[in-house]
C-alpha cells in the first residue's frame, strides 16, 4: 500500500482553541482511488479534509500538529508555501462557490495566474470543462455569468476549476449536500470518471453515497479514526462495533 500512496498523514491532530477536532490520525491515500470520509456531524471529517491542503490556515485559533506528507514532504514544514500546495491539491466545497465572473473566467483565472499563455489557457479551460462533463452545456455561453447556471452545473464548474490546474489530489467537502438527486447523480458519475486521473477524497454525510462511489471508507468519530477499510468490507463486515452501530443507524 505504501508504495502507491500519494498523500498520507502521520499523527495529525487539529484543535480549535481548546477543542480537539482531529486527534492523532494516520492515514494513507492512493492515486486513482476514491476515499469516502464518513461519520456524524462534528466528528472532525471536514476539519481533517481541510487540513490536507492547509485550508484551516485561515481560521482563527487553529493549531495543527503531526504531519501531512505529500510527495515525501511535510506540507506543514515552515519552508513550504501553502499556495503552491493548494495548486496540487484542489478543493471542491460544500456549496457551489463560483467566482462572480463569467463561466470561462471561473476556470481560466487560476490557470492564467499559473503562468500559462492565453491560447494554452483556452485549451485547458476546454479540457477541464469537458472533464467535468459541463462543456456541452456551456460551450455556447462561456461569456455569461456563472450565476446563471443551476446549482449542479455550478458545482461541476467548481470541479472543472479545481481540475484545470492539473492537481493530483481533489478534496471534496460534501459536494452534493446542496444539490437535488439528479444533479447529485451527475456529480457521482463524474467522480467515478475522475478517479482515472486523480486521488479523490470525499467527505459525505450520505452513507449510501459513500457505498456507491468510494473504494475505501474511513469512519470518523469524535475526531478519531475508528475504522479505515475497503468500502465493501466496511459496509458488509465492519470490524468495529461502533462502525456497525453507525452504519445501521443506531446513532448519527
Amino acid at each position: 500500500m505504501g508504495l502507491k500512496s500519494i498523500i498520507s498523514t502521520s499523527h495529525l491532530s487539529v484543535a480549535y482553541g481548546d477543542k480537539v477536532a482531529v486527534e492523532d490520525v494516520s492515514l494513507e491515500f492512493e492515486s486513482r482511488e476514491v476515499s469516502a470520509l464518513i461519520g456524524p456531524s462534528g466528528c472532525g471529517k471536514s476539519t481533517f479534509l481541510r487540513a490536507l491542503n492547509r485550508m484551516n490556515d485561515f481560521l482563527d485559533d487553529v493549531r495543527t500538529s503531526g504531519q501531512v506528507i505529500f510527495h515525501g514532504q511535510n506540507i506543514y514544514d515552515s519552508k513550504i508555501d501553502p499556495v503552491l500546495v493548494r495548486r496540487r491539491i484542489g478543493m471542491v466545497f460544500q456549496k457551489p462557490n463560483p467566482f462572480p465572473k463569467s463561466i470561462y473566467e471561473n476556470v481560466a483565472w487560476a490557470v492564467r495566474k499559473f503562468g500559462f499563455k492565453e491560447n494554452e489557457v483556452r485549451e485547458r479551460v476546454e479540457v477541464a470543462l469537458k472533464g467535468a462533463a459541463l462543456w456541452a452545456e456551456v460551450k455556447d455561453r462561456l461569456k455569461s455569468s456563472a450565476f446563471e447556471l443551476s446549482g449542479g452545473q455550478q458545482q461541476r464548474l467548481c470541479i472543472a476549476r479545481a481540475m484545470a490546474l492539473g492537481p493530483e489530489v481533489i478534496l471534496m467537502d460534501e459536494p452534493c449536500s446542496a444539490l437535488d438527486p439528479i444533479a447529485t447523480a451527475k456529480i457521482e458519475d463524474l467522480i467515478a470518471e475522475l478517479k482515472e486521473q486523480f486521488c479523490i477524497i470525499v467527505v459525505t454525510h450520505n452513507m449510501q453515497q459513500a457505498e456507491r462511489i468510494s473504494d475505501r471508507t474511513v469512519f470518523f468519530l469524535n475526531g478519531k479514526v475508528i475504522e479505515s477499510e475497503a468500502t465493501s468490507h466496511i459496509f458488509n463486515r465492519p470490524r468495529e462495533e461502533l462502525t456497525k452501530n453507525y452504519l445501521t443507524g443506531r446513532f448519527g
Binding site: V83, R86, F93, K95, N97, F99, P100, K113, F147, A162
Partner: protein
C-alpha cells in the same frame, strides 16, 4: 372563514411610523421651500463668478466655491487612500487580537467626536506644529481626519460583507493571500467603499466649525492658487452672510445654500448610481 381581520392592536405601529415619516418629510419640504423662495431669485451666472463684496448686489461665491472644490479634492486625495488602506490592514491583514480590536472599537468612537474638536486638533497640529498656517492643506488635513473614521468603518463593513465562500474558492485554486485580497475580495467590496467615501466627502463639504477653527478667511476677494494659500469655503461664506442683519445678505446665504445642497445631492446621487451599477455584478451569498 379565512377573511383578513384588522386587529386594532396592530394599528399603533404603522400609524406612528407613517406619522413620523410625514413629520420628517414636512420639515425637509419646509426647509427646501423656504430656501428656494428666498434664494432662487439670486441664482445667476454672475453669482458664481463674482467675489464676495460689501455690496449685496455685487457679491458672489467665486472664491468660496473654488475654495470648497479645492478642499474637496485635497480631502479626497488624503482620506481615500489612507482610509481604505487602514480598513484593508485592520480587516484583512492585521492579526485579530486585543490591540486591533481596541483600535477598531475606537475608530467607531472617533466617528462620534464633535467636529469642533477636530478643528482644535487641526489648529494645534497642522496650523501650528507642522507650520502649514491657515492654508488649504491645513483645512483639508483637518477635514480628512474628521471623515477618516467614517470611511474606515464603511470600508470595513463592506469587506466584511464579502462572502467567506468566495475567499475560500480563491484560496482553493491556489491564489496567494494578496491575490485573494486584491483580485477577489476588493472587487466585491468596492461598491460599498465608494458609497461610504462619497457620503463622507459630501459631509465634509458642509463642515464649517473645523474650518473656522483652523482660520479659514471669512472674506476672500481672491482665488487660492496652490494648496498653501489661504482660503474660504461655501460653508463659511454661508455662515458669514447668514450672520449679517441685512435682508439682502440673508438672501445671498439662501442662494449659496441652494448651491451647496445641489452639490451634496449630486454626490449622493452619484453614490447611488455607482452602487446600483457595480452591485449588479456582485456575488450572492
Amino acid at each position: 372563514m379565512f377573511a383578513k381581520k384588522l386587529h386594532w392592536k396592530s394599528l399603533p405601529l404603522p400609524v406612528a411610523g407613517l406619522a413620523s415619516l410625514i413629520i420628517a418629510f414636512l420639515f425637509l419640504a419646509f426647509l427646501l421651500i423656504h430656501i428656494f423662495s428666498e434664494g432662487a431669485g439670486g441664482l445667476s451666472w454672475s453669482f458664481f463668478i463674482n467675489f464676495a463684496s460689501r455690496f449685496p448686489t455685487k457679491a458672489g461665491i467665486y472664491s468660496a466655491l473654488m475654495g470648497s472644490l479645492w478642499l474637496l479634492a485635497l480631502t479626497a486625495l488624503i482620506s481615500i487612500p489612507v482610509g481604505i488602506f487602514s480598513a484593508l490592514y485592520l480587516e484583512e491583514i492585521a492579526a485579530k487580537n486585543a490591540f486591533t480590536n481596541f483600535i477598531r472599537g475606537n475608530i467607531a468612537n472617533l466617528a462620534g467626536v464633535p467636529s469642533i474638536v477636530y478643528g482644535l486638533l487641526g489648529l494645534a497640529l497642522f496650523v501650528r506644529i507642522l507650520g502649514f498656517g491657515s492654508s488649504l492643506i491645513a483645512g483639508a488635513c483637518t477635514l480628512s481626519l474628521l471623515i477618516l473614521p467614517v470611511i474606515i468603518m464603511a470600508s470595513i463593513e463592506s469587506l466584511r460583507a464579502v462572502p467567506r465562500k468566495l475567499r475560500e474558492a480563491a484560496f482553493g485554486v491556489g491564489a496567494s493571500p494578496m491575490q485573494v485580497l486584491f483580485e477577489h475580495t476588493l472587487s466585491q467590496a468596492i461598491p460599498g467603499m465608494i458609497t461610504g467615501v462619497i457620503l463622507a466627502l459630501s459631509r465634509s463639504l458642509g463642515e464649517t466649525a473645523p474650518l473656522i477653527t483652523v482660520g479659514a478667511l471669512a472674506f476672500a476677494a481672491f482665488l487660492p492658487e496652490s494648496m498653501t494659500d489661504q482660503f474660504t469655503s461655501l460653508s463659511i461664506q454661508i455662515f458669514n452672510w447668514a450672520s449679517r442683519p441685512q435682508m439682502e445678505f440673508q438672501e445671498l446665504a439662501a442662494t449659496a445654500i441652494i448651491v451647496i445642497l445641489s452639490i451634496t445631492f449630486m454626490m449622493n446621487f452619484v453614490a447611488m448610481l455607482l452602487r446600483w451599477k457595480l452591485s449588479s455584478r456582485k456575488a450572492t451569498s
